[in-house]
């Protein structure tokens, strides 16, 4: 396997854009990544598109507006891990020597409001199968087990909105006060409206290349050290679910995917300088910090108490503002995390720059337990 490098990233801002065509949103992200890389479109040899709501063959439609060059184009749909899946395949094309330059891109224009799970009509009819319920059940149990408090949940959101206010691609570019968040509408106790991420619109694209190809375009080599996609083991509780075993205790998919990513990269959690993780809600940031091995089990809230996860802290988490301030356009969110890490490693993150950032991790997790983790290094 060859080393793989990220040589270009591009985003279409995340937010709401009226009746702007989702295909155009995707095109702008791809063009931005190509421009960032300096690669001519005709030199891209394969393309992987992640999207959930953009309809059939959406990647082909986007690329038809970039140019019909005959390259293989694959359309992936893996819920919140769609963009991460696309990256995994682009990574592998280059790592395996199948090609030298590959594109991963994703975009979305999501229906408004909370996503309604619907595993089975009767269950939803009774009033279950609503995503934030599951997030809230996880949050409440974490509070009971480890002493995480509502105060912690507020402060995760304060931090991420403060970071997001510095991110020109974020949906909410506004500092939110502790009081605004603590007094926002209760949605699913203990989770309030401003502790939950919003589904929205946006696009992201990443150009990856072999070392030899990368050197033709840049001297700042950022290595995509690993990309891992995993589905869950039996015994974990994955959204949506009706019942889950408590006889079998399997490690969560975030834990198995991140362990595999650390191993493949030869990099451990102690080596990380920043993390972009799936903060679908405030409690999720705390829980996934633990499952990613950033701290011990039950110690996620302590990271926050110690200020470790602030931009100036020991291990900044979601310096981009996370999904809480960016919103979550499913197909784009993982690649948006990768763009943030790349900017941080290049020292191009402006007011939210993490000093001396050399190693970063991205993490997405979604419906039925698909989880993608990538590790980048400069």
């Amino acid at each position: 396997m060859r080393d793989v490098y990220v040589i270009g990233v591009g985003l279409h801002p995340f937010g709401r854009f009226g009746d702007k065509d989702v295909i155009e949103i995707g095109r702008e992200a791809v063009v931005a990544a190509l421009e960032d890389s300096g690669v001519a479109w005709k030199d891209v040899e394969s393309a992987y598109c992640g999207t959930v709501f953009a309809g059939p063959m959406a990647g082909n439609k986007v690329l038809a507006r970039v140019g019909l060059t005959g390259l293989p184009i694959m359309n992936l749909e893996n819920a919140c891990a769609s963009g991460g899946s696309a990256l995994r395949l682009a990574f592998q094309d280059v790592a395996s020597g199948f090609c030298d330059i590959a594109l991963a891109f994703g975009f979305e224009k999501m229906p408004r409001g909370f996503i309604a799970g619907n595993p089975n009509d009767w269950f939803a009819t009774m009033g279950m199968a609503v995503n934030p319920q599951y997030f809230a059940l996880n949050a409440r149990r974490h509070m009971a087990d480890y002493g995480t408090t509502e105060d912690h949940l507020v402060r995760v959101s304060v931090k991420n909105h403060r970071n997001g206010a510095l991110n020109p691609y974020a949906m909410y570019r506004k500092v939110m006060s502790y009081e605004e968040i603590a007094n926002s509408t209760m949605v699913n106790d203990p989770l309030r409206l401003l502790m939950l991420c919003a589904p929205n619109e946006g696009g992201a694209a990443v150009v990856v290349a072999s070392r030899e190809a990368a050197k033709r375009y840049t001297t700042r080599l950022i290595r995509l050290a690993s990309v891992v996609l995993k589905s869950p083991l039996y015994g974990t509780a994955e959204v949506p679910y009706i019942a889950v075993s408590s006889q079998v205790e399997a490690p969560s998919v975030t834990r198995t995917a991140s362990e595999a990513a650390y191993e493949a990269a030869g990099i451990g959690p102690g080596d990380l300088d920043l993390v972009e993780l799936q903060d679908t809600d405030s409690a999720a940031e705390i829980i996934y910090s633990e499952e990613l091995g950033l701290c011990g089990r039950g110690e996620g809230a302590r990271l926050l108490d110690d200020g470790a996860t602030e931009i100036g802290g020991r291990l900044p988490v979601n310096p981009s503002g996370g999904l809480l301030s960016k919103g979550e356009p499913l197909g784009a969110s993982a690649l948006g995390q990768v763009a943030e890490v790349v900017w941080q490693l290049r020292g191009e993150a402006g007011a939210r720059q993490v000093s001396d950032a050399r190693v970063g991790l991205t993490h997405v997790y979604g419906a039925l337990g698909n989880c993608a983790v990538s590790i980048l290094q400069c």
Binding site: W122, G127, M128, Q133, M186, S245, Q247
Partner: protein, 161 residues
């Protein structure tokens, strides 16, 4: 003889001793979810013959053995509240509940068999706490187009008697 409030699940021979009686006015929201015998009403799960894993709803497939090795079993009527929340906004369709919307609790009930079931809760939200003992109730959730009362399950705190 016991009142019957459920029939067999599709493609699954329900082995419980009970008589199937069509009753027009009260119908389970899904066939095979629960049944009543001399001891009262229970949720019906599946227990694996090989590994004792429990699934709910009842289904022949054991996800641990990855084979069709489960047999129907009445689940414990009591469990412990593993976690809970309160549904504060009206869920999107196909949710059917009172209009105007009334918030309700949702929780995970840990049964002694080794299974956590997501359930609507019948309780004042302020009374809920993790670890409390809960018990099953089967009651009407809504009326369907034909005027049938559609029955679902909830758990409520066990009251001192």
């Amino acid at each position: 003889m016991a009142a019957i409030i459920t029939g067999n699940g599709p493609c699954f021979e329900l082995a419980l001793k009970m008589t199937v009686v069509a009753e027009k006015s009260r119908k389970p929201i899904r066939e095979g979810l629960f049944a009543e015998d001399a001891n009262g009403v229970s949720l019906i799960g599946g227990r694996c013959r090989e590994c004792a894993e429990i699934v709910f709803p009842a289904n022949p497939f054991c996800p641990r053995c990855c084979r069709e090795t489960t047999e129907p079993v009445a689940l414990s009527r009591r469990g412990v509240l593993y976690s809970f929340t309160v549904q504060r906004f009206k869920p999107p369709p196909p949710y059917r509940g009172p209009d105007p919307f009334v918030p309700y609790g949702v929780g995970l009930i840990e049964l002694p068999e080794g299974l956590r079931i997501t359930s609507v809760l019948k309780a004042e939200p302020d009374d809920l706490r993790v670890g409390m003992e809960m018990e099953l109730v089967v009651e009407g959730f809504f009326e369907d187009e034909d005027g049938n009362e559609i029955l679902g399950y909830k758990f409520r705190p066990v009251e001192e008697r």
